[in-house]
Each structure stands twice: as C-alpha cells, then as structure tokens.
C-alpha cells in the first residue's frame, strides 16, 4: 500500500472501536494511563529529590526523628523539590502555549524576550542593589516583564492588530482601517529586537562588574540553579505562577483557536489581537515567576511539549497537562543530577541542555523544526 493510501485509509473500524472506550483514538493507549504514568514518574522524582543530595536523607532516620535530617528536609529539600515540580510544570505548559500561539515548534519563552530581560534584571540587582536573594529575584521578575512589555508595545506600534492595542478608524464614515499588518510575525520581530537589547545591557553590566564576585554571580544565575531556594522566597512567585497557569488552562480553547491563521480565527469570532496579548502576558507571568527564582533554565519549554505531543498526538487539554507534568519530571530529574553528578553542585541548565540539544537536532533533522507545524 502506498503512503498516500495508508495516510488516508478509512479509519472507521478503529475509530468506532475506540470512540466509547477510554482508549486514545489514534495511539490506542489510554490517555488517562499516560497521564497517570507521568504523575507517578513525577512522584517518584519528588521522593528521590527529597532524599538525594550532598547530605543524603533516609526514611529510617527521618521517621526516627533525627533533628538534622528533619531540618534539611523542611528548610532545603521540600522548597527545592516544590520549586522543581512547579517550575518544570510551568515551563512545560508555557512552552506548549508559546509553540501553539506562534505556530512554531521551536518557539520558546525567550522568543519575546522574557529570559534575557530577567537576566539583565538579575545582573542589575547583583551590581547595584543590596546583596540579597529577594532583590535579585524581584529585579529579575521586573526585568522579564519589562522586556515583554516593550516587545508587545513595539509590536503594537508596528502592526495594528498584532497585539490588539491598535484599532484605528479612518475618519471617513464608510471606511474602516483594519489591515492586520502585525500579527505574530511582528511580535516575534519585536521580541528579537528586545532580546538583543537586553543582551547588550547584560554585556555592559558584565563589563562593569567585579570579575571576582559579581561576574561569577551573574554567570551562575544565568546558568540556572535550584540551589538557593528557600521556603520564604517562593510563596509570592508560586502564587503568581499558579494564577497564570490557571488562566492558561481556562483559556486552552482560545489558545488552540489562536493557532489558526489570523484572518480565519478572526472570522471564527476570536478577538485575535487582544486574546494573543492576554495569553502571552499570562505565559510571560508564569515564566518570569519561575526564572526569577531559579535563573534561566533552558530547553524544558521546548522539550516537554514535544514529548507530550508525541505521546498524545494532538493538542487537547490533556496534552497541555502532560506538557506540564513532563516539564516537572525533567526539571526534577535535572536538579537531582545537578546536585549528585559531581562533587560540587552544577547548574541545572547543563543537564536540561544535555537532554534538550540532541532533541533539538532531532527536530531539525527530521524536518519538524521549520515548517511551522506543531504536531
């Protein structure tokens, strides 16, 4: 049977069989089982993350009431594991959103400048603000939001409907100016410009920094780590992240509609510009709240959605959920490796990149990287 025949083979039998069952209509696997398996993986990762590290914990000694073990568990391991799970979930889910909205399988949060803005913000705090983790976190958060704000503002100024901020009416009664000159293309271009600008600012800040301490701190922050997570640092950012994620899950149907060609989506009743702006802001909020605490973590947002789509073969709500769960699994695993692979703790991005770079190459070689098809 030729490829075309196979592709368009009448799927009646399989579809009928699976329609009323819990089986996935295409993979034949139960969707819920895939989700349950990923939850179990995440739970297993959490257990290992709570116990593994330079100071290994054991269940026996914890149950026996060892004060030191309990102290390490409560002050270090629980916040760190919580951040790994939530951060990974957030980056995975946000990656799904960026790839879908931009219809680009290689889209990532930094596409509109959030990571580079946060990096510049963190570097600014390391150089000019009183030395405290809270100041760096807050400054990184503000930097990320500022960068995205500038990018969306530029896209709006350049492209009318592109960000939904600019709906001009011609003074003539029967004339309406509605040309969608902007769209996702102008947002991406504006994002590239802001990314470059933030990188320049970062370079200038690095040049003016003290090479002994400040430069090392900046570089370490950029490489990302969950080393310095404490319970007191995360509640605000977790709340912001959870609120953003809730919004994204509620707006899932709109996210899918934004993946359709702009003019077609508009004729389906989607306020494309305003909706894209809202969804990008929510996704940015989610990403900024994570990386402001952890530093830049690469590839999770690229990797997790692709694995989820390979397993689910669609972009429904369960695929968004699975993207988040797999993001949590990946970051938890990378964090465990970062603190156990060498004598001293390594930046977590080393391990996420080790996992992500080969996958990126696979995408490019297999031809899924440049077609705009988010499969």
């Amino acid at each position: 049977m030729c490829t075309a025949q196979k592709r368009n083979a009448h799927p009646n039998t399989r579809s009928t069989q699976n329609q009323d069952s819990l089986l996935h209509p295409q993979t034949g696997r139960p969707d819920s089982a895939v989700l349950c398996l990923s939850v179990l993986l995440l739970l297993a990762g959490c257990v290992v993350s709570l116990l593994a590290g330079k100071y290994p914990l054991t269940l026996g000694r914890l149950l026996a009431g060892d004060a030191m073990q309990r102290q390490v568990l409560l002050t270090l391991r629980i916040p760190r594991t919580l951040m790994a799970v939530l951060g990974g979930f957030a980056l995975g889910a946000a990656g799904f959103v960026f790839q879908t909205v931009f219809r680009n399988p290689l889209a990532a949060p930094d596409m509109i400048g959030v990571s580079s803005g946060a990096s510049a913000g963190a570097a600014f705090a390391i150089l000019f603000l009183p030395a405290s983790a809270a100041a760096v976190t807050l400054s990184a958060f503000a930097g990320g939001l500022l960068a995205v704000g500038i990018a969306l503002g530029l896209a709006s100024a350049a492209g009318g409907y592109g960000s939904g901020l600019n709906l001009r009416r011609h003074p003539h009664r029967h004339t309406r100016r509605t040309a969608p000159a902007g769209g996702s293309g102008s947002i991406v271009l504006a994002g590239i410009a802001v990314h470059s600008l933030a990188q320049t600012v970062l370079m200038i800040l690095k040049l003016t920094s003290d090479p002994e301490r400040q430069l090392a701190s900046i570089e370490y922050w950029i490489m990302g780590s969950l080393n310095a997570i404490t319970l007191s640092r995360i509640p605000f950012y977790c709340a912001v992240c959870a609120a953003g994620l809730t919004g994204l899950f509620l707006l899932h149907r709109q996210i899918i509609l934004l993946s359709v060609d702009e003019s077609e989506a508009r004729m389906l009743g989607v306020p494309v510009g305003r909706m894209r702006l809202l969804i990008l802001l929510l996704a940015t909020l989610v990403v900024a709240s994570v990386i402001s605490v952890t530093g830049v973590i690469s590839f999770i947002g690229l990797l997790a959605p692709h694995i989820a789509r390979l397993l689910m073969r669609d972009n429904r709500l369960h695929t968004l959920t699975l993207s988040g769960l797999l993001g949590g699994v990946l970051l938890t695993t990378a964090d465990i490796l970062a603190r156990t692979a060498a004598a001293s703790e390594l930046p977590v991005s080393i391990f996420t990149s080790l996992l992500g770079a080969p996958f990126l190459l696979y995408l490019i070689i297999s031809g899924n990287g440049g077609e705009g098809h988010v499969r």
Binding site: A4, R7, N8, H10, P11, N12, S15, N18, Q19, P25, Q26, T100, R103, H170, H172, H174, T175, R176, R177, T178, A179, P180, L250, L251, R253, Q254, I256, L257, S259, V260, D261, E262, S263, E264, A265, R266, M267, L268, G269, V270, P271, R309, R313, D314, N315, R316, G372, H373, V374, R375
Partner: protein, 312 residues
C-alpha cells in the same frame, strides 16, 4: 453584440434547473448581501473600483475573473480585513456597524486552504465553528458535539472524526471546513477558490454540498449520501443563506452558480445568470475577461449544461 446594459439588471427568469439538482429559489428571494460602490485595496493601491452587486438568499453567487482582478480583495473587504469605501449591507445591516462577534455569527469564511497548523482531531476543527456563540471560557456542549458529528456525517467525513486533521488530503480538509461551516449556521458564506487545490471529484463534491447547504436541503442525512441524488426539479425551502464564491474554473461556475459577477481590473464588467441569460450575451461577457471563447449548451436528461471552449 447584445445590449450589455441588460446584463447588470437582476433577471426575473430564475426558475431553472442547475447541474446540482433542486430548482433555484424564486426570483423574489430576499437579498442577503447588497454591495454598493465598493472600492478597496492595499495601502494606496486601489484594487476594487466601485463594485456593486447583490447576493440573494438560497443562491450561490460566483465571482469570476482573471488573476489579480480583485476577487480575493472583495472577500477580504467583506470580512473587514481591508479598508474599503462604499456600502455593504448584510440582511439590511451595515457590515461596519457590526461588532466582530456579530460579524463572525453572520459570515462564515472558507479560505483556499485552512490555516490550521497544529495537529488536532477533525471533530475539534468542526467544533471551532461554535466559537462565535460560546462564551470566553465556555466549552462546547454535548448537543453541540452531536451537531458537529451530524455535520461530519453530512459531508461524509464521520469516520474521520477522531483522525488528525493534518494527515488528511486537501479534499478531505475542505470537507471538514465545510462541516465547520454547517455548524456555524451563518447567513452568508464566503468561499475563496474552494476548488483550487482539489481534484475533479472533490471540486464537484464541494460545490454539490454547498448547493445543498444554501438551498436548505437536508445536509445531515444519516446515510451520508450525496446531495445530488435529490430529484431534479424538486422544490426546496430556502435556508436563508447565501454564498459568495470566488472561482477559477468558469465551467464549474456556470454549472453551480445562480449568478456570476465578472471582474476585470477591479471593475465589475457584467452580472450573469447562467440558467437564464442568452448564450451570445454570456459568451460576449466571458470573452471580455478571458479572451475569445465559445459557449455551448448541452441538454441531457432535462438539464442544461454549459460548456466553455477556446475560440480557434
């Protein structure tokens, strides 16, 4: 040469038999879309110049003309995606007065190729058609999902309901989009060269289904049979819908459209009624936009088909 001015007038003789079965609605069918002195373009380049025509309920109106004559520009202007001057009334309401959501409820737009770029089941593609009536956070109801399945059944795509839209052929994709149009239930359907990427059977199937939707025939028959099986000459109730279709194939346009708006260089050169106008009149008008052609009528089983041939 015939009196060309008569070609711009609405023809009263419109009880006719079309190639796709079912009689055309009565001449008194209400006007769905009234376009008056429409001019539109891109930036300073004016593509359409003072175009006027109407599309009536229960009729398919075709837009014919060579590449670059302004067919797609006209559709984009009606979708309010381009600035325009002039007046466009949809069921008596000005397009400019409508909100985007109202416009989406009133107009269903079918592009040459759908811009769906991600994998999703065919059912989800059809369910998108309910978006104009759904709240921001609202999900399609069970009844709407049932309607989506009925629409897929009507276009013969029910078996593909859970199939990935991306792996369908272009013809199957167009059928899915047509199913989406059925659930949208809009009063005006705008189709931009729906036949351009389709093979011979699919392009006729699409036009056949479109005729069924516009003429208010039962598009949700459980057997999923083709709509052309309807008895020729059977009176049908108008659905209250109208279609405006840009077509590259004049043969297909002559077979399937009740009315043809001919465009050349952004100007409306004639309005034809293929089943009622005389062959010399239509031949002259079509020759003006396509160059020298011959038009012949072929009678078969009580149906008149028009055949377009190059003059030579």
């Amino acid at each position: 040469m015939s009196d060309r001015s008569s070609l711009f007038q609405e023809n009263p003789r419109s009880i006719q038999v079309s190639a796709y079965g079912g009689s055309a609605p009565a001449a008194e069918a209400p006007v769905c879309l009234q376009v008056s002195s429409l001019s539109a373009g891109y930036g300073r380049a004016q593509i359409l110049k003072n175009v006027s025509f109407c599309a009536k309920q229960g009729e398919i109106t075709g837009l014919l003309g060579p590449n670059g004559c302004g067919k797609t520009t006209l559709l984009r202007a009606l979708c309010r995606q381009l600035p325009f001057t002039g007046s466009c009334l949809l069921n008596g309401l000005s397009l400019e007065q409508m909100t985007s959501r109202q416009l989406a409820r009133q107009i269903s737009y079918i592009p040459q190729r759908s811009g769906i770029a991600i994998s999703m089941p065919v059912t989800d593609v059809v369910l998108m058609g309910f978006n104009p009536v759904l709240g921001l956070l609202e999900q399609p109801s069970r009844a709407q999902k049932e309607k989506a399945h009925e629409a897929l059944r009507a276009v013969g795509m029910e078996a593909y309901a859970e199939q990935d839209y991306q792996i369908l052929s272009e013809g199957q994709k167009q059928l899915c989009i047509l199913a989406r149009t059925i659930v949208e239930d809009a009063s005006l359907l705008l189709l931009d060269e729906p036949e351009s990427s389709l093979d011979f059977p699919h392009r006729h199937r699409i036009m056949e289904l479109l005729t069924g939707i516009i003429r208010g025939q039962d598009t949700t028959r459980a057997d999923g049979g083709t709509l052309s099986e309807d008895t020729p000459g059977k009176q049908t109730v108008s659905s209250g819908k109208a279609a405006l279709v840009t077509l590259h194939d004049p043969q297909l346009a002559l077979e399937s459209c009740s009315r043809l708006v001919l465009l050349k260089d952004g100007v409306c050169t004639a309005i034809l009624h293929p089943a009622a106008d005389s062959l010399p009149d239509m031949e002259a008008s079509l020759s003006e936009i396509y160059g020298p052609i011959r038009l012949r009528a072929l009678e078969e089983n009580g149906r008149r088909s028009l055949i377009l041939l190059p003059r030579g």
